[in-house]
Structure formats: structure tokens, C-alpha cells
């Protein structure tokens, strides 16, 4: 069947990409100037310490064996110990990852419905003042650095109005309400970053559908406006809109890195940045792998959704 084959092809493409990403991440250690263990420990490390680290990083094995070994250990969750704190990485990773997912999911839960509704409304009432507002907003969202938006929200809502706390740190002891209250500002920043883009793309998708001859036909048949939207336009716009949503979520997942640093939120992004500056290469590798895999997964979803909802893509020229 054409459809299954197409999806299998996309899946295969994504897997190849993922494999390439793992190789790239693995090569990071290989590319350390000189001997990796010496480079990580610095010049005045004792030979014993260097030898221990070599063993820990499996540097004495040949590269291919080391790559397969690393991949196998990552797959079963044996992530080793952090080079700076000497504590096991896996439990830390679990906390950080769930914090980041909590933040990203909250932001997505606000941004996605809002963007779809606003995009739909602005497509139906195009050429009005709302349109102008949207184009100004999307210009701002592609031009403003993440930290600018973050600090503006921080200054206005946390400092001047005092509605939300300045620090967004959360811990498991807090109730869900308290946690949500604390992440309002970082979540809002993320919403600001993806909302305009999603809105504009939704609007474009709906306008595109509305310009089709069958919509005109429905109008001429005497269908009501509501019927046209619900029965003719919406079903055909679902595909492109879902595609936009998945792409925006991929963007959101990466955008989370800077936002977490602005609000000192204990998530995966902040951990990765922290580990980069400390050259804690094992942590950097696993964080990079998770971000990369999520990004590829969401892009794959966007691709598959587009194929599912648009029969034309099933028959490439």
C-alpha cells in the first residue's frame, strides 16, 4: 500500500537521521583536542586520575567498539557518572527531564489551542485590524531574542505587579497549583515565542483552503457560513494545521533552553548549558541526544501528519 510505504520511508529517514545524530554526539568526545581524558581533567591532573577517567570513558577500547558500547549503555539507561559532581546521571536526568516536559507541556497546552482559534478567527475576518495586530506580533516574535521577552515579562509581572515569583524553581514537595503558579512566566515566554508563528501559519492554511473552488461551490449551493467552515474548510485544514503545530513544538523544545536559563528553572536545558561550561561531556551528550531525538521525532510527526491528511503527497511526481 502506498500510504504504509510512504510512512515507512519517512520513518526510515528519521531513523537514519537519529543514527547520524548519535554518531555526531559520540564523535564529540573523539574530537576533544589531544587525549580526551587529559583534555577534560586539565594539565595538572595526576596520571592515576587520567587513567581512571580513561577507563570510565572506555577510552582504551577501539572507537567502533566504544560507539556500540556507548549506544548500548544509553539504551538500557546506564549513563555513568557526572564528571563534575561524580553522582550518577540517570536519576538527575529523570528529574530534569520531567521538569522540562512539565514546562513545555504547559506552554503547549496554552499556545496550541490559542493559536488555532486566533488563526481561524483571523482567517475568517482577514483584512481587518486583527490581521495587522497579528503581523506586528509575528514580526516581534521572529525578531525578539528569547531573553528579551523573558525579562520584559519578569520586570512587568514579577517585579512591578508582583503577581508571580521571580524565581521559577520547582520541587516535588510543592503541590501542582504552586508549581503551576511558579512556571507561569517561563511558560508565557515560550507561548509568546511560538504563538505568532503558529497563528500565522494556521491562518495561511485556512485561507488557502477557503480559496478552493469547492468552497465557492458550497457557497453557491447555499450552505451557511458555519456549515462551510465546519464541514468543508476545517477537515481540509486539519492536516496543514497539525503539521504547523508539530513544527512549532519542535521549535519550542529547543527554545526551552534559553528560557530555562532566564528563569533559572531546573530543567534539562539549563543543565545542559551548565554542563557545557563545565565540560561535563557525558551530561552534554545525553542532553544533546534527548533534545535531538525529540526534535527529530516532532519533525517526523509533522511529516507523517502532512502525508496522512493530504492525499496529493501520496503520489509524488
Amino acid at each position: 500500500m502506498v500510504l504504509t510505504r510512504l510512512i515507512a520511508k519517512r520513518l526510515f529517514g528519521a531513523l537514519v537521521t537519529l543514527w547520524f545524530v548519535t554518531v555526531l554526539i559520540f564523535l564529540a568526545v573523539e574530537c576533544l583536542p589531544g587525549d580526551a581524558a587529559e583534555a577534560l581533567l586539565g594539565k595538572d591532573a595526576t596520571p592515576v586520575a587520567v587513567e581512571n577517567l580513561r577507563a570510565e570513558l572506555h577510552l582504551n577500547d577501539p572507537p567502533v567498539e566504544r560507539y556500540v558500547g556507548w549506544l548500548g549503555r544509553v539504551a538500557v539507561g546506564d549513563l555513568g557518572k557526572s564528571l563534575t559532581t561524580n553522582r550518577p546521571i540517570a536519576p538527575m536526568l529523570a528529574t530534569r527531564l520531567s521538569n522540562t516536559l512539565f514546562l513545555a507541556a504547559t506552554a503547549a497546552a496554552i499556545a496550541v489551542p490559542l493559536a488555532i482559534i486566533l488563526g481561524l478567527v483571523s482567517a475568517l475576518y482577514r483584512g481587518t485590524r486583527l490581521d495587522r495586530v497579528i503581523s506586528v506580533l509575528s514580526l516581534a516574535s521572529i525578531s525578539f531574542p528569547e531573553f528579551f521577552v523573558g525579562y520584559i515579562l519578569l520586570v512587568v509581572f514579577a517585579l512591578n505587579l508582583g503577581w508571580f515569583p521571580v524565581l521559577s524553581g520547582i520541587n516535588p514537595d510543592m503541590g501542582l497549583g504552586e508549581q503551576l503558579h511558579r512556571i507561569v512566566l517561563p511558560a508565557l515566554t515560550l507561548v509568546c515565542l511560538v504563538l505568532a508563528y503558529m497563528m500565522r501559519m494556521t491562518r495561511a492554511a485556512v485561507i488557502n483552503v477557503l480559496s478552493n473552488p469547492y468552497i465557492e461551490m458550497a457557497e453557491l449551493k447555499g450552505c451557511s457560513r458555519r456549515e462551510i467552515i465546519v464541514r468543508h474548510a476545517f477537515v481540509n485544514a486539519v492536516g496543514p494545521v497539525a503539521n504547523v503545530v508539530a513544527l512549532s513544538l519542535a521549535y519550542l523544545v529547543v527554545g526551552v533552553v534559553v528560557v530555562e536559563v532566564v528563569f533559572t528553572y531546573p530543567g534539562l536545558g539549563q543543565w545542559m548549558v551548565d554542563s557545557v561550561s563545565k565540560q561535563d561531556i557525558l551530561v552534554v551528550q545525553i542532553c544533546g541526544l534527548i533534545f535531538g531525538a525529540t526534535y527529530i521525532g516532532l519533525n517526523l510527526t509533522a511529516d507523517i501528519v502532512a502525508v496522512l491528511f493530504n492525499p496529493k503527497l501520496r503520489h509524488p511526481r
Binding site: 545524530v21 514580526l139 516581534a140 525579562y151 533552553v257 548549558v273 552534554v284
Partner: protein, 277 residues
């Protein structure tokens, strides 16, 4: 029609951002010479509010914010410009080559680009910096690579679109060489969208570099740059002061203006085409 009279036809929404950009560039280029303070000089208390002596206040060490912003702009803007320029050179070169040679060269280049574009640039940059450190050459290389990918795609598709037009066939039949066809027939016709893309790449480079600097992994000290200044002044926020907003706003202003200019470049093309057509 000369270039100047054509520029005059642009609306206010093009002139205004263009004017702002010229003012900022001039201020950054020659401004520091006219200021009474140098960027490294400590001239007052930390985070002084805006005053006549210090129009933008002072920074976290009591240095004049205006002098710092101008000095930081030199670093940020010139690096972003270098990155965009290099990316344009490599990206459009590779794109033209792929489009013109076709065959396995095109397939290999396109696949490689697709593969790299499937990886989020920020994460790639973080990985690279973790390994090689955050020196200027490393930053420029990584950013140029990711910028060149986009330019490659655009150049390739533009070149393929233009290469099938009649005037290219005519040039071929006239017996013109590859060089003539590429640089006299194809490139000039794709210049406007490429220029707009160059502007957009500049913005992306500026934002990306500033983000890295903000994370403490961008332009290494002591050279001030806008993203790094935001990071250095960030603690002021918890005292209710808006010092980090000054360099952040500069980045935003430049980005908005360049985007507006790029936008109008693309729109004018559409208008002149329909007028001629």
C-alpha cells in the same frame, strides 16, 4: 532607472527602519570617539539610573552603559555580518554548483544538507562548544555552517527555477560559457530574494550569537557584546532595575529593522514584476 530613484519609491515602512539601521551603524562605528568615557572605564556607581551624564545609566561595574552598548554593538554586528557574508559565499556557491551540475553532486549535497538541518542548531552549537570551547573561530564556523544550509537550499531552488527560463536557453544557444550563464544570467535574476535571505540570515546570526553569549557560551570576554551584556546585567532584574533590557532592546531593534527591510525587498519585487508583466 538609476538605483537611487528606485530607492525613492520605497514607502515609509522601508525608509524608517533603514534610517534607524544607518544611525545605529554610524553610532557604533564612530560614536565611541565622541563619548567622554571609554567602554572599560569605571565612571560611577553600579546600575545608576539614566541621567544627562549617562544617558543609558551605568552597568554592573559602574561603567557607562551607552559606551558599552556602542562597543558591544561593534562586536555583535560585525560578527553577525561576517557570519552572514561567509554563509552567503559558501551557501550560494554550493547551491549554484548543485543546481548546475545536478546528478550525484546535487544528490550528495542535498542529502548532507537535509541531514544537518534535521539537527537543532542550538544543540549542535552547545555540543561543539562543550568540546572545542567558545573561541570566536569556533563560533563563526558553527554559525556559518548552519546559515549556509538555508542559503544553499534557497539558491539551489532559485537556480533551478531560473535555469529553465527562455533567456538562459538563449544564452546557451549563443554559446556562452558556464561562468557567463551562472553570473550574468542566473545570479542577477535571483539577486532580490537572495539579498532578502542574506538580511534574514544576518538577523538569525545576531540572535543566535546573542543567545549563546547570554548563556555564557558565546563571544568570550573581555570584548563586550550585546548578548553577554544582558547576561552580565541580569542580576539587576531582581532589584527591579531594567539594565539588561538596554542591550536586549538593541538586539530587538536591529532585528526588527532588518526584518522590515527584507520584507519590503521581497514585496517590491512582487510589485515591479506585476508592473512589468
Amino acid at each position: 532607472m538609476t538605483r537611487f530613484t528606485r530607492l525613492r519609491g520605497f514607502p515609509l515602512s522601508t525608509w524608517l527602519p533603514l534610517g534607524v539601521l544607518v544611525v545605529i551603524t554610524l553610532a557604533v562605528a564612530v560614536g565611541p570617539a565622541f563619548l567622554p568615557y571609554r567602554a572599560e572605564e569605571i565612571v560611577g556607581d553600579l546600575w545608576e539610573p539614566m541621567s544627562w551624564a549617562h544617558p543609558l545609566g551605568t552597568d554592573q561595574l559602574g561603567r557607562d552603559m551607552l559606551a558599552r552598548v556602542l562597543e558591544g554593538g561593534r562586536t555583535s554586528l560585525s560578527l553577525a555580518a561576517v557570519i552572514a557574508g561567509l554563509a552567503f559565499l559558501f551557501g550560494s556557491g554550493a547551491g549554484l554548483t548543485a543546481a548546475f551540475l545536478g546528478g550525484w553532486v546535487d544528490t550528495a549535497l542535498s542529502r548532507a544538507v537535509d541531514l544537518l538541518m534535521a539537527f537543532p542548531p542550538l544543540i549542535f552549537a552547545l555540543l561543539t562548544i562543550a568540546v572545542l570551547g567558545n573561541s570566536i573561530p569556533v563560533l563563526v564556523t558553527v554559525l556559518t555552517l548552519f546559515e549556509a544550509l538555508r542559503i544553499f537550499r534557497l539558491t539551489r531552488s532559485l537556480a533551478m527555477e531560473i535555469a529553465v527560463q527562455e533567456f538562459v536557453a538563449v544564452a546557451r544557444l549563443r554559446g556562452e560559457g558556464i561562468g557567463w550563464i551562472l553570473f550574468r544570467e542566473i545570479l542577477p535574476n535571483g539577486m532580490v530574494p537572495l539579498m532578502a535571505e542574506l538580511a534574514i540570515r544576518f538577523v538569525f546570526g545576531l540572535l543566535f550569537l546573542s543567545s549563546l553569549s547570554f548563556l555564557g557560551l558565546g563571544v568570550p570576554p573581555p570584548a563586550p557584546d550585546w548578548g553577554g551584556m544582558v547576561r552580565d546585567n541580569a542580576p539587576a532584574v531582581s532589584f527591579g532595575l531594567s539594565a539588561p533590557l538596554v542591550p536586549a532592546a538593541m538586539i530587538a531593534i536591529v532585528a526588527v529593522c532588518v526584518n522590515l527591510v527584507a520584507d519590503s525587498l521581497l514585496h517590491t519585487r512582487g510589485r515591479s514584476r506585476s508592473a512589468e508583466g
